[in-house]
Subunit: 204 residues, 2 copies
């Protein structure tokens, strides 16, 4: 005997497959959707079914875009010779929210992780090398590549791999500063971060 | 300038409207959906758009059902003269998982909460009274109503209201036992629960 209609069970099962959503949360979300007004439900259905419409990869930076080039790559005020390499589009969002970066991005689509079967060829690394080479050929002005992969084992391995691949292009390669985060607590900061913070200390 | 395509921003906004989903989680869910295989994405779209198909309210217990009567009300093995009154369908699921209840349910659709504008007339209380009266008229066998609303202010108020409404029907009215939950810690148990546990202590 089924306690719930099939369509409700199906929705709960689908919600449960999303990351960070357990069966309890999936049920709660499903029953919430069953309770909302038809208008709000319609908007949700529309958003889901239209999610992949008009979404393509930016030809230049491989971020999600509505046209061949994303809005950041199209923007003439952005420094095209300063490229921040990130793992995924959410990282672009986080960096854009700081409003302190005026260059462009390159979205790898993940990090090298042999355990998950992700090798360099699954990421947009070849596209990055090609992009940097094209920039170097275009003019003699300097090019800077900021490697902003996550501060994890996979992210660091990816950054090291990219740095090696970009060596022949003779671009300036930098990485984000490591140290104690604002609002952090020295007592609870891990050893590696503290070591980084001491090593890279700055005169005030 | 928009960082993300409109359809992605729309999906993030819709996810953010769901209970317990903040903007970070909404972004994560949206990008997860963008990454899944077309088959899995298709299943998700199908589940969402078909969620309200074939879902109706059981004529008898007001739970979600696929037919006029839900599977529990249809089941001849269930004791129709033992009715467990709950706030919503998730409570039915929780009680069914215990496999220790053999009666039927009555789903109120919430609890009386003047602050949220929910009065008795918005709940399925009239339907419950009618159902109990019909049972009393049908035969002289006893009828038991278990009030299993949540152990909250609203739930208790709802239970008290229903108990008063059912008085003329002369049914046996019970409520779930209050006490310390399994796995709980006396030290962290609130005063009211401990008071209940002492008052309702049982000989062993």
């Amino acid at each position: 005997m089924r306690i719930l209609p099939k369509s409700i069970e199906k929705m709960i099962a689908e919600f449960s497959r999303l990351p960070g959503i357990g069966s309890k949360t999936a049920s709660r979300l499903t029953f919430y959707l069953l309770k909302v007004s038809p208008v709000q439900f319609g908007q949700f259905v529309e958003a889901v079914s239209g999610l992949k419409n008009n979404v393509q990869q930016c030809r230049q930076c491989c971020n999600m875009a509505e046209a061949e080039l994303c809005d950041i790559c199209k923007d003439s005020k952005r420094d095209k010779r300063l490229i921040c390499v990130v793992e995924d589009p959410l990282d672009v969002m986080a960096l854009e929210q700081t409003k302190s970066f005026t260059g462009t991005y390159h979205v790898l689509g993940g990090a090298i992780s042999p355990i998950d079967g992700v090798g360099p060829e699954q990421l947009k690394i070849a596209e990055l090398v090609e992009r940097v080479n094209a920039l170097r050929k275009d003019s003699s002005e300097s090019v800077e590549i900021i490697l902003a992969t996550n501060p994890s084992l996979e992210g660091d391995a990816t950054a090291m791999y990219i740095a090696r691949e970009l060596k022949p292009a003779q671009a300036k390669i930098t990485k984000l500063a490591r140290g104690i985060p604002v609002g952090g607590d020295l007592e609870y900061t891990d050893e590696q971060t503290l070591t980084d913070a001491i090593k890279n200390r700055k005169e005030i």
